[in-house]
Amino acid sequence: MYALTRPSTVWTRFRAKRSGFISLLLFAALVLASLGAELLCNDRPYVVHYQGQNYWPLWHDYPETVFGGDFATPTDYLDPFIREQLGKSGNWVVFAPNRYGAKTLNYFAKAPSPAPPSRDNWLGTDDRGRDVLAQLVYGFRVSVLFALALTLVGVVLGLLAGAVQGYFAGALDLILQRAIEVWSSMPELYLLIIFSAVFAPSVGLLLGLLSLFGWMGLADYVRAEFLRNRQMDYVRAARALGASHAAIIWRHVLPNSLTPVITFLPFRMSGAILALTSLDFLGLGVPPGTPSLGELLAQGKNNIDAWWISLFTFVLLAGTLLLLTLMGDALRDALDPRKERSA
C-alpha cells in the first residue's frame, strides 16, 4: 500500500521496458531536432561567400543589392537570379538541408501548388506553395512547446487545487469540489469561439483559455492521494512536531502524492497536442500563418487529391502520439507498486 517506489527503481524499471525507453529516446531526438528547426529548414543559407566576403544571412538581412540585384529589398535566396550570382566562380554558399522555411513562399516553383514530393520539396508543398516538410518541423515544435506549457500550467494548477482540497478536507473540500463541478460544466468550445471572435487570436490566449479548464482532471487524483496520505502517521508525527501546514504539504504529503501526476504526464502531453491540432483544424487555434499540424490537416481535407499533405501530417501526428502513449504506458508500469514483485 504505502510501499512507494523509489525514483531509482522507477528509472531502472522504465529502462527495462524497451518500447517505452526507445520511445523516450526517439521523442527526445525529435524535440531536440525541432528546437533547431531554423538550422534544418530555412530559406536563408548559413553562410554566403560572395566576391571575397562572408555574409551570414541567418543572422543578418542583406538587401539584394549586395548580391548584384536591383532592389534594396531583403534578398530572396530562392530567386534564380541570385542563385546564378552566388553560383559564379569564387562564390560559394552553404544552405540548410531543406531550403524552405515554414512561411517561405516559393515564387519560382516549377510545379503549381499543391505540388507533389519532388527533389526541391521533399514532402511536396501545400496549396499556398509552402514546403510541407518545413511546415511539419515547425508545426511539431509549436505543438510540443504548446503541449509542454499547457501540461506544466495544468499540473501546477491541478496540484495546487488538489493539495488544498485533499489536505484541508472537510468543508473547504466540499465547497471547492462543488465550485470545480460548476466550472467544469462551462462549455469550453463556445468560450473559445467567443474569445476568438472578441480578441485577436494568439498562442498565449489559447494557452490561457485551455489552461483554465485543463487542470481539473488532475486535481481529482491529487486530491484523492492527499486525502489518503494526510491520514498517515508520518503526517501526524510532523503535526506533533509543530510543522506548519505549508511545510507538511510540501515536504511530507506532496512527494508521496506525485505518482498519478507523473504517470499522467505523457498522456496529458498527447492530449494537449491533440487538443491544439483539433482546434487548429477547426480554425479556432493558433493565428493564421503560424505553422500548425491542424491547419495542414485542414488543407489535406480541402485538397483530397494532394495525398502528401494529409499522409505526412498524419504519420507525424500518429507517430508522436504513439511515442507519448508508449512512454506513458512504460511509466505507469514502472510506478505501479503491484508490479514490484513480478518485476
Binding site: Y234, R251, H252, R341
Partner: protein, 570 residues
C-alpha cells in the same frame, strides 16, 4: 447436518487418540491426513521455503509458529495452490474424504501435483481456509447469507432454498445471535468478531477435513480472540476436522494446539508436542519466541512520587461528528463521543498505561493529549495548557512528543533518515547550523541504538531500507531529537514481531531511566502495560472503567471488562 460427518467423527477421534499416544515428533497414525515432504517454494530467484517436512493426523491441531517473513503463510497458501507466481516442489499427500470423484473413497492425492481443476474442486470441499482480515475476504456487495449459500450450492449441489436454510444453520452453529437477521447483513454491518465467525461458517460449509487458519484472530480484539479459538475448538470436536493454525502468537499456540512447528526463514527448526516444546525448547528460535514476553524493568515507584505532572487532564472530552443516514443526516451529523469526562495525571518520569480494546477511545485520547484533536475540558503539559491554536504551540510540542504504532506509515518513504529525524530541529531550533543539526541527529540515533558503524551511510538511507524494529527506533529518535520530557506511545510495539517488540520496550525503559521521560503508553496488550506502566487507566467506550497502580488494577481486577483483558493476555 449430514451423515458422513458423523461417520468421520469416530475416525477423527481415533486419529486424535493415536496422535496423543504418538512420539510427539511425528504423529504415529499410519495414514496421516496430510503428509508434507520436502516442500520448497521459490519466488523468482528467492527461495522462501527450504524443504519443510511435517504431517498431521486427522483431527489434529498443528500450529505453525514463526515471526513475520518466516514463510508460514506461504506454506499454507502453497498447499492449496494459492501462492501466486511461486515455484513449488516436494510432495503434500492428502487423504481425501470418502466422497465422489475419480479418486474413490479415501484416496490419497498429492496436493502439489494435482491439476488446477481437481485442486479447485478440493478447495473448500476437503480443505478450507480462514484468512486474517475478514473484511477483505468477504465480498462487500453480497450479504453474508448469500455468500455462504453460494458455497453450499456450488459445492454441495443444494437448491436455493436449502442453501439459504443451510447458511442460516451454519451461522447458528457459529454462535452468532439472531442468525436469520445476520444472514441478511452485509460484511460492513457486522462487528469484527461476527465477520470472522461468518468467514469460518463459509469455510466449514462443506465440513472440510482440514482447516487452514491463517492468523485467524490477529485482526480481532484481545477479548474476542479467546472466543474465536474456543469456537474453533468446539467445531473441531464436533466435526473432527484437523486445524493447521498459522500464527505468530505464542499465547494462542499454548492454549490451542496439540503440536507445534517453529519456523525460521523458511525452515522448520523444531517441532513437537506443545507442552514438551514449551517446557524443554531445544532450538534458540523457540526460546527466543518463548522469552518474548516483555520484561518489567521501569524505574520503580518506590522513590517518592514526583511533584510535577507531565500531563494532566481534567474532564477531557473528545467527540466526532458522524454523518447520519438520509439526506437530513448529512446536514445534521450525529455526535459520537469518543472520550467522555476522563481525568488523569501523568507524573513526570513515570508511565501511565492506557488499556482497552479497539474503539475504546484510547488512541483518540492520545491524539487529544498531543493537541492534534479538538477537545473540551482541561489539558496541561507540564502545567502549561495548550494554546488556542495548538498547531503553533511550539513550547508544548517540544515537551511532548509521540511514537506511533505502525513504523511503516510513520516514516515518510521519500525522505532520508537525516531529514526525518532532523525535522523537529528545523522547526524548533532553526538557528542550528547544518553541522550542529547533523550532530544532534546522530546523537539521537545513537540513543536508540542505531550507529553509523553498523549501518554505513545511515543518514542518507531511506526508511524502507530498515526492518520494522529499526524503523520504530528511528521514529523514537525523531521524537527524542527535541529532548522532550514526555512521550506519547501509541501502541509502540503492536506492529512488531514479538522479539522486536521486547527489544523496543527494553529500549524505551532504558531511555526513561536515562532521560527521566514520562510515557503515556497506549496499548491493547495487558502484558505490555504490565511491563512498562506505573499506573494504568482501563478505557471502555470512551469512559474509565478502572484506574490505579498497575499491580492493584490487574491483580485485583474489579470490573469484568478488566478481568477479560487480563485473561486474554495470559
Amino acid at each position: 447436518m449430514n451423515l458422513p460427518a458423523q461417520a468421520e467423527l469416530s475416525t477423527a477421534r481415533a486419529g486424535q487418540d493415536a496422535a496423543a499416544r504418538g512420539s510427539g515428533i511425528e504423529c504415529a497414525d499410519p495414514t496421516p491426513l496430510l503428509e508434507v515432504r520436502d516442500l520448497r517454494v521459490a519466488f523468482g530467484a528467492q527461495t522462501v521455503l527450504h524443504g519443510l517436512n511435517f504431517s498431521m493426523a486427522p483431527g489434529e491441531k498443528l500450529a505453525l509458529v514463526g515471526e513475520s517473513g518466516s514463510g508460514k503463510t506461504v506454506c499454507a497458501l502453497s498447499l492449496l495452490g494459492l501462492a501466486q507466481g511461486a515455484r513449488v516442489s516436494g510432495s503434500a499427500r492428502f487423504q481425501r474424504a470418502t466422497l465422489p470423484g475419480k479418486h474413490g473413497p479415501g484416496a490419497v492425492v498429492d496436493l502439489l501435483r494435482l491439476a488446477p481443476e481437481p485442486l479447485r474442486a478440493l478447495r473448500g470441499q476437503d480443505i478450507a481456509m480462514v484468512f486474517q482480515e475478514p473484511m477483505n475476504a468477504l465480498n462487500p456487495v453480497f450479504t453474508i447469507g448469500e455468500q455462504i449459500a453460494e458455497v453450499l450450492r456450488c459445492k454441495r449441489g443444494l437448491n436455493a432454498r436449502e442453501a439459504w436454510a443451510g447458511a442460516v444453520a451454519l451461522l447458528a452453529d457459529m454462535e452468532i445471535d439472531e442468525p436469520q437477521r445476520r444472514a441478511r447483513a452485509y460484511a460492513h454491518q457486522l462487528s469484527g468478531g461476527q465477520r470472522q465467525r461468518a468467514m469460518i461458517a463459509m469455510a466449514l460449509a462443506c465440513r472440510p477435513r482440514l482447516l487452514l487458519a491463517d492468523e485467524p484472530t490477529t485482526a480481532l480484539d484481545v477479548t474476542l480472540r479467546a472466543q474465536i479459538l474456543d469456537l474453533l475448538e468446539r467445531l473441531r470436536q464436533r466435526d473432527g476436522m484437523a486445524i493447521l493454525l498459522v500464527t505468530h502468537d505464542l499465547h494462542l499456540v499454548r492454549r490451542f494446539a496439540d503440536r507445534v512447528a517453529v519456523m525460521e526463514r523458511g525452515h522448520i527448526v523444531e517441532q513437537g508436542v506443545c507442552s514438551d516444546l514449551f517446557s524443554r525448547p531445544a532450538h534458540a528460535r523457540t526460546r527466543a519466541l518463548q522469552g518474548s514476553a516483555p520484561q518489567r524493568d521501569p524505574t520503580e515507584a518506590s522513590s517518592p512520587a514526583p511533584a510535577e505532572d507531565a500531563v494532566r487532564a481534567t474532564q477531557l472530552q473528545v467527540h466526532y461528528l458522524v454523518p447520519r443516514a438520509g439526506l437530513l443526516g448529512w446536514f445534521r451529523p450525529a455526535r459520537f463521543d469518543a472520550v467522555q469526562d476522563v481525568s488523569w495525571r501523568l507524573p513526570a518520569g513515570r508511565t501511565l498505561g492506557v488499556v482497552g480494546e479497539s474503539g475504546s477511545g484510547k488512541s483518540t485520547l492520545a491524539l487529544a493529549a498531543l493537541g492534534l484533536l479538538p477537545f473540551a475540558g482541561e489539558l496541561a503539559v507540564f502545567g502549561r495548557p495548550w494554546a488556542v491554536s495548538p498547531a503553533q504551540d511550539l513550547a508544548n510540542r517540544r515537551a511532548l512528543q509521540v511514537v506511533f504504532q505502525d513504523p511503516f506509515s510513520a516514516l515518510s518513504p521519500r525522505l532520508h533518515i537525516q531529514d526525518i529525524v532532523g525535522e523537529g530541529l528545523r522547526i524548533h531550533a532553526p538557528e542550528l547550523t547544518a553541522g550542529q543539526r547533523h550532530d544532534r541527529v546522530l546523537a539521537a540515533l545513537k540513543d536508540v541504538g542505531l550507529e553509523e558503524a553498523q549501518f554505513p551511510g545511515l543518514l542518507q538511507r531511506y526508511a524502507h531500507q530498515f526492518s520494522g524494529g529499526q524503523r520504530q527506533r528511528i521514529a523514537i529518535a525523531r521524537a527524542l531529537v527535541l529532548q522532550p520530557r514526555a512521550l506519547v506511545l501509541d501502541e509502540p510495539t503492536s506492529a512488531l514481531d514479538a522479539s522486536m517488540a521486547r527489544q523496543v520496550l527494553a529500549l524505551l525503559q532504558k531511555l526513561q531511566a536515562v532521560h527521566g521521560l514520562a510515557y503515556l503508553l497506549i496499548s491493547h496488550d495487558v502484558a505490555v502495560i504490565r511491563a512498562m506502566a506505573h499506573t494504568v487507566l482501563v478505557l471502555r467506550q470512551g469512559r474509565v472503567v478502572e484506574s490505579g497502580p498497575v499491580d492493584t488494577v490487574f491483580e485485583h481486577a474489579q470490573h469484568p471488562y478488566t478481568q477479560a483483558l487480563v485473561q486474554a493476555a495470559l
